[in-house]
């Protein structure tokens, strides 16, 4: 079997989720009741038998490191390979690299030492359940230098404006990479290539003063290299704004999306918290809601997502909201179209109301 190593490159990911990224990078933003965004690419890699994964962290990575630990939750606490979290820490006086190439240059040992023949590079903003073995098969069959992953989205939303789009010919070859607002072929910020090819690309980019591996190493060379496009068919959510975060979170309440994303044969793993089952009181009323473990629900919750350990007191009403870990909602409080970050407390009879297009976001550890 071919060996693949993974790189999760957070270098270009902006902290665009307002209050949710005040204290953490977007890869560490909680999602879907018990996960964080980075759980998806790591689980996808782990499920694709990728046993050696580097995370190129740049900013606000404290909660990311706390979450990933030694990679045990993804079965990545290994003697061979495993999980490497690589924050920016380099002191090479001869270093002339810029942008994310600093990461590739200063962590080149990860690439040269790995026994893998192929490398997958992925971001964390495209939530999906993908098998990279399938991508590799198609990559090898196409004979391409690089294979990039895209999704043909059914409906264009504002979050797709910022994404790169692909024009693909009938053989699956990429003929253009652009920002055409009408195109539905959304590049998913994932590509696979041979390790030696990546190594050459990094050297070449640095030698030419480039600062962006994808833009300068792949996109700019489109006329000269063979780029194949792999079309991903499953559940997909591009999250690069509060609005897209909120919409994609609540779309999980539709059973179809849930089953597409959380597959029995390819589970999404996350750090285990050892919470007990959730307790629903005699008077609780819950409808169309995703609920994680360790919650105690005495109130009324509808069309919402509750993360682990949330307490909803009697008489409280929560609608169309996302309530993160360990929040406490006191009696008779009313929340509608609200995102509460972790450890918030909403006291008696307070009312917070946002609108679906602009949910009311409350930063971590706020009491009101």
């Amino acid at each position: 079997m071919d060996r693949i190593a993974g790189i999760i490159n957070l270098d270009h990911e902006q902290d665009v989720l307002d209050e949710l990224t005040y204290f953490r990078c977007s890869a560490a933003v909680p999602f879907a009741g018990r996960y964080r965004m980075i759980d998806f690419p790591i689980s996808n890699m782990s499920n694709s038998r990728i046993g050696s994964i580097a995370v190129f962290a740049r900013r606000k990575y404290r909660s990311l490191m706390d979450h990933l630990e030694q990679g045990k939750a993804w079965d990545l606490d290994r003697k061979q390979g495993g999980l490497f979290i690589l924050p920016p820490d380099w002191n090479d006086p001869t270093d002339i690299s810029k942008g994310d190439l600093q990461h590739f240059h200063n962590n080149i040992d990860f690439i040269t030492r790995t026994l893998a023949d192929y490398i997958v590079v992925s971001g964390t903003q495209n939530i999906c359940n993908i098998n990279f073995r399938d991508v590799l098969e198609e990559h090898k069959a196409s004979g391409a230098d690089v294979t990039v992953v895209y999704k043909n989205v059914e409906e264009l939303h504002p979050e797709h404006k910022r994404a790169h789009k692909l024009t693909v010919d009938e053989h699956g070859r990429v003929t253009d990479i652009h920002h055409d607002q009408r195109s539905a072929n959304v590049y998913m910020d994932m590509f696979i290539l041979e390790k030696n090819y990546l190594y050459g690309m990094i050297e070449d980019c640095i030698a030419h003063g480039c600062s962006h591996l994808f833009l300068d190493g792949i996109k700019a060379r489109l006329p000269h290299i063979h780029i194949h496009a792999y079309e991903y068919q499953g559940a997909h959510a591009l999250i690069n704004s509060v609005e897209s975060y909120y919409r994609h979170s609540t779309s999980l309440l539709n059973g179809v999306n849930q089953e597409d994303l959380f597959k029995e044969e390819a589970p999404i793993f996350t750090k285990v918290k050892n919470e007990p089952p959730t307790k629903y009181s005699e008077g609780s009323k819950v409808a169309n809601t995703l609920v994680a473990n360790g919650c105690v629900i005495d109130g009324h919750v509808e069309d919402s997502i509750l993360f682990r350990g949330v307490k909803v007191a009697k008489g409280a009403v929560i609608k169309n909201s996302i309530i993160m870990q360990r929040c406490e909602i006191d009696s008779n409080a009313v929340l509608e179209n609200v995102i509460l970050d972790k450890d918030c407390r909403i006291s008696n009879s307070r009312t917070l109301v946002g609108v679906p297009e602009k949910p009311y976001v409350v930063a971590k550890r706020v009491s009101m």
Binding site: R34, Q258, I268, N274, P276, P277, A287, V291
Partner: protein, 388 residues
């Protein structure tokens, strides 16, 4: 390197009174409380009490138990020195071997395991009870009193006392007499099956007991009476928390129902004393539009479209539209179809309940219905009645 106290957990019980729930698994591996197995309680108690060396004595149907315990990492018992060791019966080159003949024999046959740690004290536990207990407090009491053995006891209602092994004590908590299930109890202090022995003392008794051909090699029947007969100092340590023997279908059901009380005797949502368990890694539970859930414990991975009242639902359970579940325990990965009615029942892991089935009797005096595999008598009679 020495360990002050090593725990020996007796996990070989067959648990025949749990009927088909233990047909293929040992009793300590039986499910409890929406996400746990019974053995999670003594193992978590050990970790929370700072006891990091635990021998688990297995015998009956060990496959699932061995696999479940693994290297103990779920209970933080994967240690460089100590940690958890699964100790099945084995054959020795000269003495021969065979099954453990009793609880005392199980420890006797693992004297070499205990020797490795040269402990001062040995904590003997059973894998049959649900409780949260700080064994380190009991160990402190045992050391302070200078006892040769300390037995943890709990007050039980006088009318039930004759079902238990009872300790008669003097005013100082010294055990003067032990009676196994007496007809006319003189005490209502029941043994919880939690013992701490000075290892040097216990070892002598285990060796003598092994030489005695008439012995049944049991702690309650042989070792404790022999020590009392020799006037060894034996103390009763009174525990006043929640403790429940879940040895029968009815008591297992009751203990699950106890968790649904407003202020349950056993609080699982307690960060100071977590009960650890193997995590099934499933997405959050989904409660649908048409669902109605009240007074319930529900675990991850469930998809609930029906009406759940006063019930405990384990991970990965599906409940279809129009189904009503009351006063029941539904174990992992059960698929309940549409318009099913379940009352006062325990549904074993992996069962599939077809549309329209009616299970159990709602009247409060009725027996608890157990639905397990098709070989189970109860399940069969129910299957004939209800599932086409």
């Amino acid at each position: 390197m020495k360990k002050e106290c090593v725990a020996m957990l007796l996990a070989g019980g067959q648990g025949t009174r749990l009927k088909s729930l233990t047909k293929q698994i040992a009793k300590p591996a039986v499910y409890f409380g929406g996400k746990y197995r019974i053995i999670d309680f003594p193992l978590s108690n050990c970790t929370n009490s700072g006891i990091d060396t635990v021998g688990v004595l297995t015998q009956y149907e060990p496959l699932i138990l061995n696999n479940y315990i693994g290297i103990g990492s779920d209970w933080d018992l994967d240690r460089k020195y100590g940690g958890v060791s699964v100790l099945p019966p084995y054959v020795q080159s000269e003495e021969g071997g065979g099954w453990y003949t009793g609880t005392a024999n199980a420890i006797y046959r693992n004297i070499k395991f205990l020797h490795q740690y040269d402990p001062e004290h040995v904590l003997v536990l059973s894998g049959d009870h649900i409780y949260k207990m700080d064994y380190s407090d009991m160990l402190d009491y045992h050391k302070a009193s200078g006892a040769d053995a300390t037995i943890s006891v709990i007050e039980v209602p006088w009318e039930e006392a004759s079902r238990f092994g009872l300790m008669n004590t003097n005013d100082y908590g010294v055990i003067t007499e032990f009676e196994e299930k007496p007809e006319f109890p003189k005490s209502n202090l029941a043994s919880m099956g939690v013992y701490i022995f000075r290892w040097d003392v216990l070892k002598r008794y285990l060796i003598d007991d092994a030489d005695n051909e008439n012995s049944s090699n049991d702690f309650g029947k042989d070792i404790i009476p022999a020590m009392l007969g020799d006037h060894k100092k034996m103390m009763a340590y009174t525990f006043d928390g929640y403790w429940k023997d879940v040895g029968t279908v009815a008591s297992l059901w009751e203990a699950n129902m106890d968790l649904l009380e407003e202020n349950p005797g056993l609080e699982l949502n307690d960060h100071s004393w977590r009960i650890y368990s193997k995590n099934p890694n499933q997405p959050p539970q989904y409660i649908s539009h048409e669902a109605n859930v009240h007074n319930a414990l529900i675990n991850e991975g469930c998809r609930i479209h029906g009406d759940i009242g006063h019930s405990v639902i384990f991970d990965g359970v599906r409940v279809g539209e129009g189904s009503i579940i009351r006063d029941s325990v539904v174990m992992p990965e059960v698929k309940v179809g549409r318009n099913v009615t379940i009352n006062r029942a325990i549904i074993a892991a992996g069962s599939v309940i077809e549309d329209g089935a009616v299970i159990g009797d709602p009247s409060p005096e009725s027996d608890i219905t157990l639905v397990a595999d098709e070989d189970s008598v109860i399940a069969k009679s129910y299957l004939e009645q209800t599932i086409k």
